[in-house]
Symmetry: D2
Subunit: 343 residues, 4 copies
């Protein structure tokens, strides 16, 4: 896996270990809840750094595969796995690198996490922005989380990456149960970004929430996105849903409620940004399934590979990374907007 | 309002009336369910056409405001309307065109609908693609709709733009009720795109669903997006959620179920594309609200303007337009992918 | 003609008159050296301004045609004018708006000048950057110009826009002579940008000189571009051509010579940026020419329209405008590079 | 050195050897006219290929340095080499990877040649386009070349990459002479692209010649660009310069002369595309020079590294590669223009 991060400002102190830390939260085999495939996912920075600082040039990073078993994919060669990208890849390109899932393998999220680690560091340095995600739901098990105070450390104390201890246990039980059956289960990741300054985002097409939606739906297995009140907000009336402004300490208005999710008219308002992403149950299951071969004949498929019964715990650092990348881009863009003296 | 559409291929037959038809479905004052503000929204094509055909050059279109009442906004000059873009616009730009909502006015969706009408025509001509949206939910009133067969005509028969007659009536009652109270209500628009060829969309960052999510979240008042099973899909296990393939007539696989929503791995699979968008209740209400002035002092606001108690019926052509624009872009992009002979 | 300028920072004081001033330097009919076509080219700003300040939103401007004579182009309908874009436009798009030259009319440079006027104002305000261009050569008549001190006022004192009085007179004679013969003549515009800070430009593909080259070759009739020593520099050896550094007053190095043209490795070095653009003789001449009709038959063409015997004097503000637009873009980009504290 | 090529259509047969062949024409140490630094520049394709075909996904390639001598650059650490990018890099980024020239090293052109080899293969397959460049001038030694028929093989027969045997010998003598003096010399590369179909290029900002100009000025040491008649064309009148059309065999017009250089109004006209690039004399020379240290003090510099006395012979494949990349991009873009049936 390779990734190139362009646009990171020069002079940022950066160590490989900082990127590795987030990759370790994403890597397979980190607990019994994830795929037993063992990958160290050791990252190597091959360009863009000099004496521990970013140069302003593209930062290229490599993570070498270690536990690849190409033979394990031999059976995929001539058939399309249901709800995977095998068929659509072939429809688009007319050929497909069938071993290991090719470019549609979820291993591509390594690049997102490596890049996101740099963005996260940058945002912390320039603006004190903190980004924390967690597993909010597994199937029908929901968590209660204190958005104002939840920390990455609290999230990582739970195998399920759910900071609500009681919900975490039920999620673990649920994942264990579907794993034993060779089945899989989905859920919802929630994420908060705190200390985001007001003014990030564009007013029409590249709204901050539109870019976040795009980033989230670009993740493997994502099926839905919400910001602030989301789909639940449609049950309210306008008088219940609006966030009244009150005078804030810093000379700017605050909203005690936050159904806007920190974004109004596509632009951050200084309140915490809150979003949720729905992930479908992992498509690879051991249960036998009907499918079709490349020559359009019916065949049966029972996957024998090593897969995640639930991607949610590993999706947490991926969601954080994509949020960090979107916010870093908009923070830098706003530098080219806020140029002239205040009126 | 002005809009410039670039990238439309040359030689497309196009008449002003085709664009006007979609604008008429969006315009205010079309029924008692929408704002009583009367705007004809007559479109004028000022460049890009020659003897009834597109030239391949940018198509600029203008719609002139007629019923603007700048005085109606005078009260907005020195305060921030709750859950509007007034404060964030000022935070971003340091000044704000306060009369009429400026660039964040929902009147900007005129440009989307005018552009979308061209994209829709193009997609119909080159690929027979049909795009139909409708109001799926208003507050807690849900509709039953036949996704395979629902037509724009059926949708437009209902004031609420809901093709389920019984649900439509209840939606109308609900909207009338909140209107009488000076309040507002939100809902969900659902959209289907039929006859989309397999192969549209990019495999990593510009996935078809990611671009649709971005397009939808760029709409005023949008708070959530789902494709296929969406948030509901997380309640299923993988064996329940996967879409099995069966041999199809055209030599390519089909899926009898469609929890993927017509997109797998970010690329269309030839099944209908299905998506939903959550719209919050309109932020402008007549009920008195707490807010803050530009100098950070508490003030009361009771809007007196003419506003929609529910944007959903007018959002239907806007959603269709954005879907058309995204699909047209990806259809054209795929022309530069599918170049060399089949293997 | 319409133009939309996006990305101008908010809060810039801007008046229509400032844009009009540059348009007046470009407009036809300003002297006997240019086309006798009379156009006022009055600009109207239709969006993006509020109470005399830019809003940060797109600035749309319109200039209405007044002296168009569509009939004058009737003869162009079915033939291709030599060395014009008639044939290539039809080859590309399959149709062509033949009246007035369509989109390839040099009237499109109105948009460049209107946009450039804003960029020029911005650069002057934020960085004191001055951009001055002049006619350096007409056919074989060359000028001597003091690059350090030449001003727009000095340039505009000459009908030929050449600040070397003796050369200016010979240029005027030369242009008058070809005009009387119904022929045309080309030349070279030179431009200097002073007080450009070091650090603008990207190191590989979007080098400052590459972007300037692209901007200049995008102008109608441009056939060549040079920066610094240009083609003449190939006659020197390295020891003659290199610009030695000497210690400068502001704590940064200076170069007494400037064969680099103010750009080294694609990035500005703080010295004046110097470039030249070659413009071919105007393609429209009154002399009869051989050409071909749309059905590939030989025909004769003798243009009867009103055209410039020499575009050079009117090209001067256009070159300045494109330089201003490129520099403004790079100045803004550099804001997103120079973010972290100095080491 | 790493390069990522995105956008290459899938199903193109491609072998490493095809890329290596162009890299061998660029590599140092290939003759006594180039730097004696020995680099094999062996390319490794690390992604984007499957069973000898492109996948449509990004093609990443690596070339490992072999003869790097970091110590040789130690002296560059605290001073700025004249007419190099040392000072401007530091002005832009605030730090600089001083060993080996960092990102501004001309070794970055490896990536251009590797990418260009793919573009060249693609253009040959889809359109039979042939691209040939050669050294047209070294200092004041000019060549006579038959643009219609000159081939890569003829060019490569000459150490100087000049297909005019007599001029080639004089160029070799000239380069030998400056090499012995520790000096350097510049020149002009000319390039022709034959069988380019009409219709490539955009009419306003991304004109084919503008994109070629940008590509050429992005090359290290490039100071000027011409298309067709270039700077020489300004000496002609319009009646001498215009290219008359005559009826062509393929039902489309041809021009017996080609002062347009195959591009009219920014769009290819089907005639050979002809361009020239001026390269300054190599900045690195052994002669002692005045310069300035990082703390703005005067110092003397006499470079001791191994450098090219003349980059021209090695620039030939680089120019061809950039032309190929620009043409491939425009060929693919035109696929999204020429969509609807002819009128």
């Amino acid at each position: 896996m390779g990734v190139v991060v362009d646009g990171c400002p020069p002079r940022l102190a950066l160590e490989t270990a900082e990127i590795q830390a987030d990759l370790d939260r994403r890597r397979p085999g980190q607990s019994r809840l994830t795929t037993p495939r063992q990958e160290d996912d050791k990252v190597e920075i091959v360009s863009g750094l000099f004496e521990g600082r970013t140069l302003g040039s593209p930062i290229a990073m490599l993570v070498r595969n270690q536990d690849a078993r190409p033979g394990a994919y031999e059976e995929m060669r001539d058939l399309y796995r249901p709800s995977h990208a095998d068929y659509t890849t072939e429809a688009k390109y007319g050929l497909r690198a069938w071993h290991g899932g090719g470019r549609s393998s979820a291993r591509e999220t390594i690049g997102r996490v490596a890049g996101g680690a740099i963005a996260r560091k940058f945002l912390r340095e320039v603006a004190g922005i903190e980004i924390v995600a967690w597993v909010q739901r597994v199937q029908d098990v929901d968590a209660k989380v204190d958005l104002e105070n939840v920390s990455v450390e609290q999230v990582d104390e739970s195998l399920a990456r759910c900071p609500d201890g009681e919900a975490s246990e039920r999620m673990i039980e649920r994942i264990d149960a579907v794993r034993r059956k060779g089945d899989s289960v989905g859920g919802v990741v929630e994420c908060v970004a705190r200390s985001v300054p007001p003014g990030l985002g564009e007013p029409i097409f590249e709204k901050l929430d539109a870019d976040l939606a795009s980033a989230m739906l670009s993740l493997p297995a994502a099926k839905g996105f919400e910001v602030g009140s989301g789909f639940g907000g449609v049950a309210l009336t306008g008088s219940e849903h609006n966030d009244p402004f009150v005078p804030g300490d810093a000379g700017r208005p605050r909203t005690p409620s936050n159904r806007s999710g920190g974004i109004q008219g596509g632009i951050s308002n200084g309140e915490p940004i809150i979003l949720r992403v729905a992930f479908k149950p992992t498509a690879t299951i051991r249960t036998e399934q009907d499918t079709v071969s490349r020559d359009n004949q019916p065949v049966k498929l029972a996957a024998s590979g090593r897969h995640d019964p639930c991607v949610l715990p590993r999706a947490v650092p991926i969601v954080e990374s994509m949020v960090a990348l979107v916010l870093a881009d908009h923070w830098l863009r706003q530098r080219a907007v806020d140029v002239l003296p205040d009126l």
